[in-house]
Amino acid sequence: MTFMIPIENGNGVKNAEADSQRTLYPYVTGTSVVAIKYKDGILMASDMGGSYGSTLRYKNIERMKAIGKHSLLGASGEISDFQEILRYLDELMLNDNMWDDGNSLGPKEVLNYLTRVVYNRRNKFNPLWNTLVVGGVKYGEKYLGMVSMIGVSFEDNHVATGFGNHLARPILRDEWREDLSFEEGVKLLEKCMRVLLYRDRSAINKLQIAKMTEEGVTVSEPYSLKTFWDFKAFTNPTVGAEGSW
């Protein structure tokens, strides 16, 4: 692939050929992923929507996938880049399994590998347009982290991507605890996903919740949240603030 940073000449003409070789903007995108640590491991939630700009084009996209025995990867952003990342990880895990030596890559290793890949692509001005969340439990240690499309990565007790950062994290900062039970964790995540459903235009009411524990990784069947649209604030949104919407 030839790579050139496009340079404008005097007439404002850009180097179209080189541009066709690299990612300029995303096309089919997934919205937020929200994840928390709980007593027995990690819980992660995402909806199943794939937007094509402002159109909610695809409604059956699984944006969370198990990686090996110990980890789960959730992605928001460009779906095709997510699929390519899954191919990279497939090869990585295949080689890891081929060693057949009792050692295995855990969630920390997966996240750091992805960080290297994503950062490298960013440096070549050809990013993988995703924000990735990796969680898992290995030998009793819980791990939850994320990496953005520019290669910034970190671990935390709760993470979210995109709109989730603005709408879900404040809820989690107030209500997350170290010793949440499975039911409490699911309820907390559903609360976050409901707020996102109300307020994020790219969210759809069809979500999956994934659970990661020492025993393994399971992704739930898709289901929908109960919503209530008759809040007084919804029926008369601008009362008290004329002119707003």
Binding site: W99, G102, N103, S104, N112, R116
Partner: protein, 277 residues
């Protein structure tokens, strides 16, 4: 041992199916001074004899830290050993950088072995003339491996390589069954006693040996002279004026000690090439 007809090239087989150049490379390992490794469930100890070219020079470094959780002891052509240690450090640090996780020692050893094998199948290369005792940790605990110039590698509970290593191996064979559950201190003591076996008569002093330890909660590091001497003192009789030749394990010191250090590399091996330490 005259096998001249088929031993010029590493890529020439003998009629009996042997690659003599590879076997000669393994001879080089036997000429180097002794290196010993032992492991328990949670710790690995590497020890070696400090051999110097002459009284004027310092001794060659034979134990290298590869990473916090991997160390290697070499015997044979130390220059080859240094190059391979650098390769191991490079592999280890690249893995740490990409995965933020220590490279499992079992995988490093396979990389090393594959590298050594390449040299046995190219006509323009020669095999590495160094044996490596690689000690390290992975998910299943502590491991000790021996990497041959032939490209083979084996896992051991305890092993010794280099000159007069047979004496150490005999000592280790008697005791190895207890090593898996040994404490860290007992493992170190056994390593130093095995070193003593290779000295065959010379007094064991802390200046004569280098000892390194690594463990599940202990990064690789060398023991200082004081600690080594303390362990030696627990089983060597404290130096006294009288010569009690028949006193159990105790050795007559000073007089024979000086003579012993004077003939470094001389006893037994006639022509030790300068590059083989």
């Amino acid at each position: 041992m005259f096998r001249n007809q088929y031993d010029t090239d590493v890529t020439t087989w003998s009629p009996t199916g042997r690659l003599f150049q590879v076997e000669y490379a393994m001879e080089a390992v036997k000429q180097g001074s002794a290196a010993i490794g032992l492991r328990s469930r949670s710790h690995v100890v590497l020890a070696c004899v400090n051999k110097a070219q002459s009284e004027l020079s310092s001794h060659q470094r034979k134990i290298f830290k590869v990473d916090d959780h991997i160390g290697v002891a070499i015997a044979g052509l130390t220059a080859d050993g240094r190059v391979l240690s650098r390769y191991m450090r490079s592999e280890s640090i690249n893995h740490s950088f990409t995965y933020e996780s220590p490279l499992p020692v079992g995988r490093l050893v396979v990389h090393l072995a594959d590298k050594a094998q390449v040299c046995t199948q190219r006509s323009w290369k020669r095999p590495y003339g160094v044996g490596l005792l690689v000690g390290g940790l992975d998910e299943s605990g502590a491991h000790l491996y021996y990497n041959c110039p032939s490209g083979n590698y084996f896992e051991y509970q305890a092993f010794a390589i280099g000159s007069r290593s047979q004496a150490a191996k005999t000592y280790l064979e008697r005791r190895f069954e207890s090593f898996q559950e040994s404490s860290r201190e007992d493992l170190i003591k056994d390593a130093i006693m095995a070193i003593r076996e290779t000295l065959q008569g010379e007094t064991l002093k802390s200046s004569l040996c280098t000892v390194s330890v690594l463990g599940v909660d202990e990064p690789f590091h060398f023991l200082d002279q004081e600690s080594i001497q303390k362990v030696i003192d627990t089983f060597e009789k404290v130096p006294e004026e009288e010569e009690d030749a028949g006193e159990g394990e105790a050795e007559p010191e000073a007089a024979t000690g000086a003579a012993g250090t004077g003939e470094q590399g001389g006893s037994g091996d006639q022509d030790v090439a300068p590059m083989e330490i």
